[in-house]
Amino acid sequence: MNPIKSLIKDLADLHGRHRENLLPVMQGVVQKEKFLSEYSMIEIAREMDIPAAEVFGTATFYSFLETKPAGKYIIRICKTITCAMKGKNQLLFAIQDMLKIKTGETTPDKRFTLLETNCLGWCHKAPAMLINDDVYTEVTPEKVREILTNYMKENI
């Protein structure tokens, strides 16, 4: 069996095949694959016996359920008011400069995707950033370079 198919089967076995298990299953696929491809969505629909259009409709509603290919590390910079006031643009520039990508893009080696996101809930320690599930707060351009350098060193 191909790996995505068996991943989806395992997730459905774990969470169940009812409609209310759809989000956990999709989250599980995103955790592993970083995004939901058309193939994954059709496969989820088949495995859980839900119309594929419904799976697609649900997936595209949630900003953390990516439907476009994404890198291993998804960087999300908070752009809501306090982070905007405390210099999130400087962070974006520093990251764009370092990774040579624009916001919304993925590096050619598929390691980093850079995104902006709405309030992360760290306004008292702005600006804030998520890399996958890990939170970084009071980030400065210097700090972000350091953090990314560490990620880049990993698994080379």
Binding site: M26, Q27, T80, T82, T117, C119, C123
Partner: protein, 394 residues
């Protein structure tokens, strides 16, 4: 003469108490009616922002006839400027779990869920450990109540209670029509209590210390304490527990940087209060005789004179445009048009009077949008445009 401010700091919520087992077993020795009456007499209102009386919510759910009921803790804290629920779930999660179990006992629900926003996934592991420990004790005292975490996936609108339930049922997080209210038909169309994280912690305080202790804090119609998430231009950003009913002037004396121009109370969906109205504004639920009372989920964002109110409004509108679920036209199209509209005025493509048209549009949205998101865009829009009109134009 120096101004003597009188903010009343309180320490109930984060007080570290290790007697939750005792609180739980003692509380469920009482009759459900007694517990409900205790909550009603405390006058505790929902701390998520809407302010529905908590005792009444539990009572209505308890009275609904169904074998299947649910308790949901709403931890989809997404309002810009709010970050208190994360702190509660990090520091005193057992208080939340205890309150959920008591709610289950009172209403007859056997299952509880914590709907945790995707942005807080890093809390999941630790929280699951606490839940395991908690369930172990529930078994010991023969309390049949299971708690599970349900992860959100990045959607502000899922903080709206019925959208949250749609999301839990595996659908797009689009709010439902009300009525029926969740107390009659909530998750899986069964009677459901859904409370904010902070509200649940306040019930814990009431179970432990009694309703009177809680009622004695705050002012008439706004009893008890509230967690405030303070951010923006302030020398001491953070989370503070204060008595309700304080004046905004006192708040600014404590938290301002000496140059405070305006305070946004209640996040992007709340109100912007300019300096001249600080002393007439109190923080609490409606019903005070004088001045303006602003209810809030606890988000307090301070702006100093270096901030452009146009940029602030632009940022909020962009937020709403993205987070609108798109289900109803007033909100979907309204948010887009408001954003385009203020930009056009700023660029001089539309006359200043166009702002009045936009204000009319927000009135329409307030009247016709299906849920709180679309209805409350008018709050920040009108309070910013009316008080800082010149900044929108020049």
């Amino acid at each position: 003469m120096a101004y003597s401010y009188q903010l009343k700091r309180v320490d109930f919520i984060f007080r570290n108490e290790n007697d939750w087992e005792k609180v739980l077993s003692n509380t469920i020795k009482k009759k459900p009616d007694e517990i409900i009456n205790e909550l009603i007499s405390s006058e505790l209102k929902g701390r998520g922002g809407a302010g529905f009386p908590t005792g009444l919510k539990w009572k209505l759910t308890a009275e609904s006839k169904s074998k299947e009921k649910y308790v949901i803790c709403n931890a989809d804290e997404g309002e810009p400027g709010t970050f208190k629920d994360r702190e509660i779930l990090t520091k005193v999660p057992y208080k939340v779990l205890t309150a959920m179990a008591v709610c289950g006992y009172v209403t007859g629900a056997k299952e509880g869920f914590i709907y945790l926003r995707g942005e807080y996934k890093f809390l999941e592991e630790e929280l699951n450990k606490t839940i395991d420990e908690f369930q172990y004790y529930c078994q010991e005292i023969n309390l049949d109540f299971k708690i599970k975490i349900f992860m959100g996936s990045g959607a502000y609108i899922c903080g709206e209670e019925t959208a949250l339930m749609e999301s839990m049922e595996g659908r797009r997080g689009e709010p439902r029509n009300k009525p029926p209210f969740p107390t009659q038909a909530g998750y899986r169309k069964k009677p459901t209590v859904i409370n904010n994280v902070e509200t649940l912690v306040h019930t814990w305080t009431i179970f432990k210390y009694g309703a009177k202790k809680f009622y004695d804090l705050g002012v008439q119609y706004s009893r008890g304490t509230k967690l405030f998430s303070v951010s923006g231009d302030t020398p001491k950003p953070g989370i503070y527990e204060l008595e309700l009913g304080m004046s905004l002037q006192d708040f600014v004396y404590e938290f301002g940087d000496g140059d405070t121009k305006a305070v946004q109370v209640g996040g992007a969906s709340g109100f912007l209060v300019p300096r001249k109205k600080f002393k007439d504004t109190a923080i609490g639920y409606e019903g005070k005789l004088v001045g303006i009372s602003l209810p809030t989920g606890g988000s307090m964002m301070l702006f100093n004179s270096s901030r452009s109110m146009f940029n602030v409004l632009d940022n909020y509108l962009e937020f709403f445009r993205e987070e609108s679920c798109g289900q109803c036209t007033p909100c979907r199209v309204g948010c887009q048009q408001l954003l385009l509209g203020i930009k056009a005025v700023k660029r001089g493509e539309k006359p200043a009077s166009y702002l009045d048209k936009l204000l009319k549009l927000t009135e329409t949205m307030q009247l016709t949008a299906k849920c709180g998101l679309g209805q409350s865009v008018a709050n920040s829009f009108s309070s910013i445009v009316e008080n800082f009109r010149e900044e929108m134009i020049y």
